[in-house]
Symmetry: C2
Subunit: 339 residues, 2 copies
């Protein structure tokens, strides 16, 4: 469904963006990636190695969208994936998070609406905007009470997309993703989500660390399933709704997720420790999304069971370990410079 389609992917060197870009190329789309490689956000040129001669990469910040206005004008679909995902980093550097997750998106969308009114944009939002679940599974009508700066800022950007769509100036679809895992996530950065931390530990044969007793449930989603949701949202002629939860196929306690990883990796232990200072207060606790709406309206469902997804993930990283475990300069210093 994407053959010959011109597609712009912001954040296309990062985890979700690169997987999406690869799949789009495989389907015959003409893909342009925009990525500023902001330190700490997970951009890695190796991510697009399989398609590097078949995509165009523009090194630019979405804040400076005027630089690639022609590409916005030419795009049939825009996937807006750029952003910072780290919750703890947003607490250390709130202004940096505001700049990356809110200010930049406002500027980007204002250029989009001027350069290409009515263009379809699929935005990568997050379950974080809901905050602590009042009920499970969380549907799209659940109140939004984010528990950290990252959630506040992504909430605001989500609302930008929805406001401009309500006004008829853009045609945005917002996907609220739960914990996404899989190949091409950064493993050399702190605080990219507990699953990346588990996978890194498993690869290094180190113990997996679980905060608290690991009884909170989560519904991780494998990257290929998430990518499929983006493809459907980008190509659906008419969407009844503009906001869709995208959750995983199984809801399991974090403890069980950790044990599944260790079983597949065949050596590391699981260690239970109390939450570090400042971490429990921004933990959302138990979470599982209801993906009924996207199943009903776009025919999407998560297919990859956690065990299978982890197996594929470990197998990818085992082949390309050097590209992902390479130490980066101190993340915190880089992040501070980028404020």
């Amino acid at each position: 469904m994407y053959a010959g389609t011109r597609v712009l992917v912001t954040g296309g060197l990062g985890f979700i963006g690169s997987n999406l870009a690869i799949r789009l190329v495989e389907r015959g789309a003409l893909v342009t990636i925009v990525d500023s490689s902001v330190p700490g956000c997970g951009a890695n040129p190796f991510n697009i190695a399989p398609v590097k001669d078949r995509v165009r990469v523009i090194e630019a910040d979405i804040s400076d969208a005027a630089q690639f206005e022609d590409e916005i004008r030419a795009a049939d679909v825009i996937f807006n994936i750029a952003g910072e995902i780290s919750h703890p980093e947003s607490m250390r550097y709130p202004e940096r998070d505001l700049r990356l997750n809110t200010v930049a998106h406002l500027r980007f969308l204002l250029v989009c609406r001027a350069a290409h009114p009515g263009v379809r944009i699929v935005y990568a939002s997050t379950r974080q905007i809901y905050g602590r679940a009042r009920y499970l599974p969380v549907d799209e009508e659940h109140p939004a009470n984010p528990v950290d700066f990252n959630g506040i800022h992504k909430r605001a950007s989500t609302q930008y997309h929805l406001l401009l769509s309500r006004l008829g100036e853009l045609d945005a679809i917002v996907l609220r993703l739960t914990n996404v895992y899989g190949p091409r996530a950064a493993l050399n950065l702190p605080h990219q989500g507990f699953l990346s931390t588990f996978i890194r530990a498993a690869l290094l044969a180190q113990p997996l660390t679980v905060y608290g007793d690991g009884s909170s449930v989560r519904d991780p989603i494998y990257i290929d399933d998430a990518v499929e949701a983006f493809l459907l949202a980008g190509s659906a002629r008419v969407c009844q709704s503009r906001v869709y939860n995208v959750g995983g196929p199984e809801t399991l306690p974090v403890r069980a997720l950790a044990e599944a990883v260790t079983a597949i990796a065949r050596n590391p232990l699981v260690v239970y420790t109390p939450f570090p200072v400042g971490r429990e207060s921004i933990d959302v606790g138990a979470f599982a999304a209801s993906s009924d709406r996207i199943r009903r309206e776009l025919g999407w469902s998560a297919r990859t069971r956690f065990c299978d997804g982890i197996r594929q993930t470990l197998s990818y990283y085992e082949k390309h370990l050097n590209a992902y475990l390479r130490p980066v300069e101190s993340h915190l210093e880089l992040a501070a410079q980028a404020v």
Copy 2:
């Protein structure tokens, strides 16, 4: 209850801030006003004429809070009233609104938490963050789906206050005010709310313009009642909640509000016209707040009936018309410069 108390009022030269500052001085508080007099936000030095020798005025933007860190450290209570209130202007200049209503508040709060951990801050939020009411009256649990940039940005700032309070770094109380009217609102700026427009027209013996058929209800609140809510929120030892609606005592169709103003002003007509292009899409329609929570927890209630409030308002402006109808340089140009 404020005698001898050190109080900081941001936006203290504006409509709500100046009325609050005057009342605080009358109660014996030691008041410091911070105001940057950003064009378009309603700052008017005449507003504090009655107390001008008894307040200290610091000309500074809350973004640059380091400039008045000592005053933050010394304050027993902070009333954070600074901000842009215009919905249509936020649609014309979204980045300006983001800067004034979100970025500036984040910077301000980060300085507050460092300079004076745990300080009580009362933040002037707005019913705008709720968007279109799904039910009336709107209580504090109503979903927040703002319909314009102003609502999105005030929502984010509200969440900053709540997040930092949940973490124990500040002690913020958020008041969500409905349509506030009364003496000291700017009358020489466009888009400061329909009641300011009505009052200005009445004072100039011009027809009042109502968009649509005026059947949507609203619950305007007189400034003295709003100020009383701030005083209570600033001094309450323990608040069970952190967010309170502050609505008016009567819920009336906009048409009836217009007719009440014309009856009191004794001459202007009411003219009904269709919404201008772009205005209906950001109109929230019928709105009335439930103020049950603040009544129950802080013992506040709105006392001033609309007719009485309008009578006092017109009487104030008739005495001081020159200070409020003085033409300002083009608001839009100034606003654009201030982006």
